[in-house]
């Protein structure tokens, strides 16, 4: 899977690349508007991570260019400008997602995973993890071919783990993911714990392996 990261802040770009490469993605970077346009025009990517404020031009222009060229690359806007207008404009111009800075790397991993799945497997979007099969369209989970009922949050959590396989995910990152826009304001570590406990229990009760490992008591990891 090929990803283009358009970001002028090299330190942040390095982190993202390091994380994504460990996730087995092929990662290219562009740090200026001109460089970005050249790469976008010459190559095909599965997913483009786009910062809106770039030296030499706006990320919005790159989106317009992509639309004009009728390119099908998935686009996630990563921006410090967390305003509704920007978000709406970006999404209207064909971006698939909008992730305001600052974000946790596993969150970015989950979003990329979701977009690539949606783009590549539009008609039969099924994620398989050994004995676990998740149908993303019907939002159903089968363990050893038996249907297991998950709540919306548990399903989200499961996908989040699978998207960040073998990575240590901090409780803060999980809390932020689970509580969404709102509630990064909540002290929700107990909340995270409760959800993970339920998810684990449902999976093991249905006969799946215990993939979710606790790491040092402060984070979790999906080992597979």
């Amino acid at each position: 899977m090929k990803i283009l990261l358009i970001e002028d802040e090299t330190s942040l770009a390095e982190s993202i690349v390091t994380y994504l490469v460990a996730q087995k993605y092929i990662c290219e970077t562009a740090s200026t508007f001109r460089e970005a346009i050249e790469k976008v025009e010459s190559f095909q990517y599965d997913c483009i991570l786009l910062d809106l404020m770039l030296p030499g031009g706006s990320g919005i222009e790159i989106l317009r260019e992509l639309k004009r060229m009728n390119k099908q690359d998935g686009v996630i806007i990563i921006s410090a400008k967390d305003s509704l207008e920007n978000k709406i404009e970006g999404l209207q111009l064909g971006a698939d997602d909008y992730l305001p800075k600052p974000f946790h790397l596993p969150e970015l991993g989950a979003r990329i995973f979701s977009i690539i799945r949606r783009r590549k497997f539009a008609n039969a979007n099924v994620v398989t993890q050994n004995e676990i099969t998740i149908d993303l369209l019907s939002k159903t989970v089968h363990v050893n071919d038996a249907l297991v009922a998950f709540t919306k949050k548990e399903l989200e959590l499961l996908l989040y783990f699978i998207a960040n396989k073998n990575r240590v995910i901090s409780k803060s990152a999980l809390a932020e993911h689970l509580s969404g826009d709102m509630a990064d304001m909540l002290d929700s570590h107990d909340f995270v714990y409760a959800h993970i406990k339920n998810l684990k229990k449902k999976l093991t009760d249905a006969g799946a392996d215990n993939y979710i490992k606790t790491v040092y008591g402060t984070g979790y990891k999906w080992e597979a």
Partner: protein, 429 residues
């Protein structure tokens, strides 16, 4: 407090009153003096006429006596009597009952006594004439004075009003504009042109003052917004580095705790930053688009959103929502008001406590179990978190207040019977 124009008005009126009151005796004295002098003259003329005519009649002594007798019978007031000595003319004033018109009562008379000689006989002649009584004169003059005073009073009120309307019009106009002016609107203040030097100077100076304030205010707000923006990128870098650090195989348990603690603090900074940005945007009059927002639906959605959190803390949530409550507002801002209020209850209600949410066409109530009252006037200020140990940003209620302010909704807080109660009163005018 008195109006400026009413201050000299009262003084003018008092002065007018005193002058008019003083004029009454003066007028009386003059009128009476003229009256009496005129009547004295009239009496003298009459006396001279009588003297001349009597002398003509008195050809003989008997004719004279005959004439005097007839005269005294016909006009007893104008008596002619024989006297022994020649006296200088004298005048008198007396009040006497009118013998002929009794209903008129007592009248004042001005008389003249003069002596003259006819055929070597000394005769005394008394001529009398009716004069207007002094009390009647005073009454008439007073009545006139009162009429004039009323005319002046009415006139001054009328002119005063006219002056206040015309002359002071630019002043009141400026006053209205200053009163209506809101620094947050970020518009310059402007006044109507006028041709009065003082008012023009006043307006110019106010414009100058407001302009400089506006500049300070704008730059301060831009600073807040820019600072928040600029902070996002370094925060993103720290966050990503911590995430990577956690992936290092050599991380020990102790280090992992450090990372998690750093992450928590970072989450809090991000939160504060995000809310500061939101406040700056609110104050910068962004989110201008409004629609008819279904508050009932939004509140219901909010309750659903937080359901799990309530369940998690074993908080008993009771919801009573009147259907179809709508307000003209920005949808996102309305959701923020609802969510921030609910979020506070999730955060501050003790485990096993309860939360009540109620919506009517006029009010939104959110109340929850609590132990001590919060300081109401500190509550909505920035960074005045009631409890320092909670992970709040200290900006949630400031944001709620800003949004309420924008739509003329009134937010208030009460504490009674172990319950915190927030109330939003909608503006249904």
């Amino acid at each position: 407090m008195k109006k400026l124009l009413n201050k000299p008005f009262r003084t003018f009126l008092t002065y007018t009153f005193i002058i008019l009151a003083c004029s009454i005796p003066v007028y009386y004295a003059i009128v009476d003096f003229i009256w009496l002098r005129e009547l004295d003259e009239h009496n003298r003329i009459l006396a001279a006429k009588i003297k001349t005519n009597i002398t003509k009649v008195a050809v003989t002594d008997s004719a004279l006596y005959q004439a005097i007798r007839v005269w005294n019978q016909v006009l007893p007031e104008t008596k002619i009597t024989e006297t022994s000595e020649m006296k200088a003319d004298s005048t008198y004033t007396l009040y006497r009952r009118n013998e002929y018109l009794r209903s008129k009562g007592s009248d004042r008379f001005q008389g003249l006594v003069t002596t003259f000689s006819v055929n070597g006989k000394l005769l005394s002649l008394t001529v009398e004439n009716n004069v207007e009584e002094s009390n009647e004169t005073i009454a008439a003059i007073t009545a006139v004075a009162i009429v004039f005073f009323i005319a002046l009073f009415a006139g001054i009120i009328y002119i005063n009003k006219k002056i206040s309307k015309k002359l002071w019009q630019p002043f009141y106009d400026s006053l209205d504009r200053i009163r209506a002016y809101d620094l947050q609107s970020q518009k310059k203040i402007s006044f109507e042109k006028n041709d009065t030097v003082e008012f023009t100077q006043l307006n110019e100076n106010i414009e100058r003052l407001v302009d400089s304030n506006l500049k300070v205010y704008t730059s301060q707000k831009e600073f807040a917004e820019n600072a928040s923006h600029e902070l996002q990128t370094p925060l993103a870098i720290i966050k990503s580095k911590l995430d990577l650090l956690l992936q290092t195989p050599s991380v020990t348990a102790a280090q992992s705790v450090l990372i998690e603690e750093a992450n928590n603090a970072l989450a809090r900074v991000s939160r504060i930053n995000k809310n500061l940005l939101m406040l700056s945007r609110l104050e910068n009059q962004q989110f201008g688009d409004t629609e008819k927002v279904d508050i009932s639906q939004a509140l219901h959605d909010g309750c659903v959103l937080f359901e799990e959190f309530f369940r998690d803390k074993k908080i008993d949530l009771s919801v009573q929502i009147d259907p179809g409550v709508t307000q003209q507002a920005n949808k996102m801002l309305t959701e923020i008001v609802i969510n921030n209020l609910l979020l506070n209850t999730v955060r501050h209600t003790p485990t096993n406590g309860n939360v009540q949410v109620e919506l009517t066409a006029q009010h939104l109530y959110v109340s929850n179990t609590g132990t001590t009252a919060l300081v109401a006037d500190q509550l909505f200020k920035r960074f005045q978190s009631a409890a320092k140990h909670t992970p709040g940003s200290g900006l949630g209620l400031s944001i709620v207040q800003q949004i309420c302010l924008r739509y003329n909704w009134e937010i208030s807080y009460h504490f009674s019977a172990g319950k915190h109660r927030f109330e939003v009163s909608f503006n249904n005018a």
